[in-house]
Structures are given as C-alpha cells and as structure tokens.
C-alpha cells in the first residue's frame, strides 16, 4: 500500500475555488463587453484588451520583483482590468489606460499585500487617479452608435451632466434607450440590460449576495425620488445613468473592500447610496459612484468593528460589565 495522506479534518472540500469565482465574474462581465462593442465600436474591445493585458503584466512583474509567488492564475487581475476598462470613455488614449492599470494593480493591490488585502477597490483606485490626472480625456464623451457611420468621435454630453432637478428632460435619450445603453458614457457602464444580466448570473452562481447592489441602488432611488419631488421619471434616469449599476453590481461587491457580515454590507451599501446621491445633487462633479465606493471602502474596517457578530452563546458585553460593577 502506498503511503496514506494524513491531514486535519475536514477531509472533503467544496468545489468552489478562487479562480472559479473570478471566472464567474469575468463571465458576468461579458454581456456588458459585448454591449460596449455594439455601442462604441471595436475600440472598446481594444481598451479592454489593453487594460487586461497590462493588469496581468503588472501583477506578474510586481510579484516577481517583490519575490512573492505568482498569482496571475487566480484571474483576479483580469477582473480588475475589465472593470477599469469599463469605467473609461472610448476615446481614452491607450497609454493612459496603462498608467491607470499600473496604479490599480501595483499601488492599490500589490503594495498592500495582493489579493484580499487591498483597502480600496483597485479598479476604482486606478480610475480616480486617471480622473484627477487626465480630467479632460476622462470626460471626453462620444455619442453611441456613431462609429458605424465612420464619424470620428462625435462628442456628446452624458445624460447625467444635463440631468438636474426640475430641468427639461426633452433633450435626453428615452428611458428605453437608457436601459439599453444608447447614451454617452464610459464603455461598460451604459447598458443596464447587460449589467443586470451579469447580476443575475452572479446571483445564480452564488458569487455575490444581492444585498449590496439592492441597498446601494435602492438608497439612491429613494433619495432621488424625494429630491425629484416624487418624479419617477427623474428617479429612473438617475438610476440608469452614470456608473451606478456597474458600480453597485461589480465594484461595491468586491469581497476584500466590503464588510464580511450581512449587517455590515447593509450599512456599507446605504452609505454608498447616500454619498452617491449627495455628490450628484450638491457637488460640482457630475458623477459620484466611484467616490462613494472608495470613501465607504476606507470605512469598512470601522463598519466591521461595529457589526462584529456575537459568538454563539456569548453574553452581551454591556451586560457583563454591569454584572462586574454589581459584584
């Protein structure tokens, strides 16, 4: 008889692995990638490819330099690359993409210990650096579907920029166009239908729980309904515009940068929703999803402290302190 394996229990493991989870996220992002190609042309595929390749390369090189084991096989760098690409306008120069990827992978992720250790979402970190560094290139929007006519970059405002409380909505795309993504914006964020398809896939595969996307989008919807004095149309435009769905489904649900308990997830998601709404309504910026997520990312350790579950059968801390005082 060969030597037997002796290891600690349990002796069976579930089939779920980290690469499986990441592969599921990649699959869930495919509908949005296809939508982006239809809407903004093959350049969006090129941008996505550049981002994915540079993220993998930076991950590989930085781990090598830091003399750590190679982790590209966990596929997380591909997810980061796709998400960052989806948050860029189709006109973005490719070298800027590479800089964004460098920041996302090397500074945000690997400097803090790699997968699971990053304190903010790498894709959002990379995007915000690009937004601050190349603000005009990052907000150079083009009209959708124009690429087919051979026209080069017909510039157009995003619906979010022209959307305001009580403002005229006649110049905006119809709600159906908004839902299908026929509007100006970042390549991966516009097609709500494709993003929701990905959302359903992630739920079926049990990769994420619905709690963060629902609370995030729900909070924005409620605030916008109140701000719009009960106008459902205004509320729906707000929900469908900007990067809200992309952010709520794919970025706020990032495991490492969202709380681990359900209670914490609710607080986190509502916080994201409130900050997004406040930025959109009162701040100078047209869009607030990325900033909202990154601010709440930073608050996650504090949310986890206050939502720590009580171990089974453990007494409430306050009670035991009282007992101590009494005795």
């Amino acid at each position: 008889m060969k030597k037997l394996t002796v290891s600690a229990s349990p002796h069976v493991r579930s089939s779920f692995t980290v690469p499986h989870i990441m592969l599921d996220v990649i699959i869930a992002l495919i509908p949005a990638l296809i939508a982006s190609i239809v809407l903004f042309g093959f350049r969006s595929l090129l941008i996505t490819a550049v981002c994915v390749v540079s993220c993998i390369a930076f991950e590989y090189i930085s781990r090598k330099i830091m003399k750590r084991n190679t982790t590209i096989s966990d596929l997380s760098a591909i997810v980061t690359g796709m998400l960052l690409a989806f948050n860029l306008p189709v006109t973005i120069p490719l070298w800027m993409c590479v800089i964004g990827c460098f920041f996302a992978i090397v500074v945000v992720k690997q400097f803090f210990g790699g997968i699971g250790q990053n304190f903010v979402n790498p894709a959002i970190g990379g995007r915000i650096v690009m937004l601050v560094s190349f603000s005009s290139a990052m907000t150079n929007w083009t009209a959708p579907l124009e690429w087919k006519n051979g026209l080069d970059a017909v510039s157009a405002a995003t619906p979010l920029a022209s959307l305001g409380i009580g403002s005229d909505m006649t110049g905006l795309p119809s709600l159906l166009e908004m839902f299908l993504g026929v509007r100006g914006g970042c390549i991966g964020e516009t097609c709500a239908a494709a993003l929701l398809l990905g959302f359903v896939y992630l739920l079926i595969r049990k990769v994420i729980k619905p709690i963060i996307p629902l609370c995030f989008v729900g909070t924005v919807a409620v605030i916008m309904l109140i701000a719009g004095k009960g106008s459902f149309e205004f509320m729906l435009y707000e929900v469908l515009s900007g990067g809200l769905l992309l952010g709520a489904i794919f970025m706020a649900t990032d495991y490492a940068t969202s709380p681990i308990t359900s209670k914490g997830k609710v607080i986190f998601a509502i916080g994201c929703g409130i900050i997004t709404a406040v930025i959109r309504l009162f701040a100078n910026l047209p869009e607030g999803v990325s900033y909202a997520i990154i601010i709440m990312n930073i608050l996650v350790p504090h949310i986890e402290t206050i939502t720590k579950p009580r171990p089974f059968g453990a007494e409430k801390e306050k009670k035991s302190k009282k007992e101590e005082a009494a005795s």
Binding site: L4, T17, I260, R310, P311
Partner: protein, 447 residues
C-alpha cells in the same frame, strides 16, 4: 396528535450557518452484518474523554467475553471489557487512530467466545442504580466524541433538567450507523427512551432526525405515538451539516442557546446519541457491557461498503478485509466521518468504542485544494454555526494573540469544519482554530 407542537418544532428546526454536503449514505439500506471474530483484539486503555484506565489483568491471564479488564478510580472515565475470550498476550503501548501511543491489552482469541460470569442484568430501581449500571457497562457516547455516558446522565440535583434530546441526526456524510439502529433496534430504542424517562424523570423527550431519512422518521414516529402520554416527540431537521452538533440540537429542539463554556444541562437539556440510548436498554436487560459496535465501512476505495458489527479492539485492516478489501488504491483512510474524522497513518490501529465509521477514499476525493490568499469572500463566516469569523481568527492564531483570540470567541468552536469546507482559497481553517485554542491554553498555563 401533537400537531401544534410539531409546528413549533418545525419553526426552529434549522439553525444558522452550516454547509450542504453531499450525503453519500450509500450503505443506508444494507442490514448490519456481524464480522467473524478476529484472531486478536487490541484494547487501548483510553477509549473515552477523561482519565485513562489501568489494566486489571496481566500477560498470561485468561479472560472471558465481557470481563472487565481495565478500570480507573476517577469519576470521568469508563471501564474496558474483553471483547473476545482467550489469553492476554501483551500489555504494551500501541498506536491508535490519531497517531498517539497508548497502553493497551492484547487478547489472543481462543475461538470459544465464552461469556464471563460477570455478565448479569443489573437491578435498576432508581437513578443511582442506573448511573452505576451505565458506568459498569463502559458506555461512552457512541456518536463519536466518546464522553463517558454515566457522567452525562448523572445530573446534579440542583439542575432542573426536563428535556432529553435523542440525537439520530447523523449529519456526517457516509455514516449510516444510527440510521440502521433506528431500523433494526427499534425495540431497544423504545425501551431506552422510557427507561430514561422513568428513572431520570424527563418531562419531554425529543428524537431528532434529519429529513433525508424518511424511513427512520416513520419508525420513530411510531415509537412516539405508541404511548399516550405525549411526552415523546419526533423532530425532523433540515439535512444540513452540522445539525447533529449538541448545541445545535438544543437550539433546534428548544430554542434555547447554550451559553459559551456551558453544557446543555445548563439550559435544562441532555443530548444523547440514539445508539447509546438503545445500548442502555439492552444492558439493563442483559447485563452485557459495551464490547462490540456497528461501523459504517464505505468510501470509493472499499470493495463492498457495508454496515458491520465488530468487536471493540479489532484492527481496522481486518474490518476492511472483511468488506472485500480495497478495490482502488486508497489515498486516505478516515476513522469517523469525512468532516470531523481522523485520518489514519496505517490500518493496523484498533477500532475504539466511539468509532462509528471507517472510510477509505481513492484519489478522486477532494481532500485539499491549492491554498491561496484569503479573498475575504465571507463564506466561512456564513458557514460558521457558532457565529465566528474564521478568517480573522486565522490571523490572530498566527500572531499568537491569546487575548484577542478569546475575545473573538474561539473557544466555542467545535471544529465542525464547515469553514474549511466552504473556503474557496483552500485554507486549513480548522487547523488555525486548533492552533488558536492552543495559544490560549498556553497563555493560561503561563499565568
């Protein structure tokens, strides 16, 4: 009859956390087979939680079946009886399943199976008689942990215990010992239930079964309905690991939560394995001590999986041979279930009273995955029935931070393995739990 109470029991039947594991109850329809007695048995001096026993016999002595051959003067301990008749050939150290060396008595079987004159049915009229009888029988919890049963049933008079929960959940995959007990030894279970009720004065008796065993549920329901006093109820639990854990049982049956560091007795409950209850009834009727037990022998490497009745002390290799040997090269052999059992180094170790399964797996078993960095997905947190955060405890254990570990509640961990089972990063979380508990013990020892 008890429709209302059934409704209440169902409302609480599922507890938080846990994991859905493939059941693999392949041997559930196989009637228990008696093994041919082996040429020798090896009886380690500690087959239970508590103080080890000292041998009462020496090399060369002749012993009969059921004769007490080792005992301890400590309260938390259980005597050991000869499981075959014959000559004591060695009193020496042997290796047991977990790799430890324990003193043990080896008996060469003379093939006669002469019954000892010590075997006489005990007189049981009151609690003291019953506790004494249980201790003399050498019974330890047959569910796997091996806690001496007389200690469990000897409830201090100042504790108000009214509920007996009989555990037939059998939530570990593969094992079908308790299930066969329900089907084959129904009479003994009924007798045991009413004996314990009469002598120890339980008001409620709840028999808990997972809902993947409808036949057992049917039989147990008949037991419950056979007496008109309505004191015995059957509770069906969702098949979910670890429903059969003691504290989970108490919560499912009564809604009460056993405080950390306390026992079910502190909330008025006693939890006993269904096999133990049936054994008590048989012991009171016949006086036979615990010298044999049923094992589920299964797994992908076993030629003929089956439930087999074996004498305590038989070597694992003999049991496997009886089940047709290996049909594939085994890579892992486990004493107990796949979630909490012990992996064997080799098969010449003896079967103990508390062993309920012997599983052998060929290489397709998903024993381990590649270990990666934690991605904080929270699956371990969702799976932990004890409400812990296993991934945080990993870091605290590696940092040897005793204070933070006890604050994180690590001592309530029962090492059920749900966290490690569900971890996509393949972390050996149960090992970190054990490491953390050791850190706390060592810190306590220093003080």
């Amino acid at each position: 009859m008890s429709k209302i109470t059934d409704g209440i029991l169902k409302a609480v039947k599922q507890v938080k956390g846990g994991v859905l594991v493939d059941h693999h109850k392949d041997t559930k329809d196989m009637a228990t087979v008696r093994i041919t007695p082996p040429e020798r048995v090896i009886l380690p001096m500690q087959q239970h939680i508590g103080a080890p026993c000292s041998p009462l016999v020496k090399v060369g002595d002749h012993v009969d079946v059921g004769q007490k051959i080792a005992d301890s003067d400590q309260y938390v301990s259980a005597p050991i009886h000869a499981s075959v008749s014959g000559k004591v050939t060695a009193v020496s150290e042997v290796k047991v399943a977990n790799g430890r060396l324990l003193p043990a008595i080896t008996i060469e079987n003379d093939g006669e199976m002469t019954l000892s004159e010590e075997i006489v049915p005990p007189k049981v009229e009151n609690k003291a008689d019953l506790i004494k009888a249980i201790r003399n029988s050498g019974l330890v919890g047959l569910g796997g942990a091996g806690f001496p049963s007389h200690v469990k049933f000897n409830i201090p008079d100042d504790k108000n215990i009214d509920t007996l929960i009989i555990n037939a959940a059998e939530c570990e995959p593969f094992i079908t010992v308790d299930y066969r007990e329900c089907i084959e030894n129904t009479r003994n279970i009924v007798d045991g239930v009413y004996l314990l009720k009469k002598v120890l004065g339980f008001k409620n008796i709840i028999i808990a079964v997972e809902d993947n065993k409808p036949d057992a549920i049917k039989i147990l329901k008949e037991i419950a309905d056979s007496h008109k006093d309505n004191a015995v109820k059957v509770m069906t639990l969702k098949s979910k690991y670890p429903q059969g854990a003691e504290k989970m049982m108490v919560q499912s049956a009564t809604g009460k939560i056993v405080p950390a560091g306390k026992l079910p007795a502190d909330v008025g409950c006693v939890v006993a394995n269904v096999g133990s209850v049936a054994f008590i009834a048989r012991h009171v009727r016949t006086g036979r001590p615990i010298i044999s037990r049923t094992l589920t022998v299964s797994g992908s490497a076993i030629a003929n999986p089956m439930n087999v009745r074996v004498p305590v002390g038989i070597e694992a290799s003999k049991v496997i041979d009886f089940c047709g040997g290996f049909k594939k090269e085994p890579v892992k052999i486990i004493a107990g279930g796949p979630m909490m059992g012990t992996a064997l180094i080799d098969t010449d170790v003896p079967i103990l009273k508390s062993n309920n399964a012997l599983l052998a797996f060929a290489d397709e078993i998903r024993t381990n995955k590649k270990e990666r960095d934690c991605i904080r997905c929270g699956r371990c947190v969702a799976a932990c029935p004890m409400n812990l955060i296993p991934t945080d405890i990993e870091a605290l254990s590696l940092n040897k931070d005793a204070e933070a570990l006890s604050k994180a509640g690590i001592m309530v961990c029962m090492e059920c393995g749900s966290c490690a089972y569900s971890c996509p990063a393949g972390k050996p979380l149960v090992q970190y739990m054990r490491l953390g508990k050791d850190v706390i013990r060592q810190a306590g020892a220093k003080k």
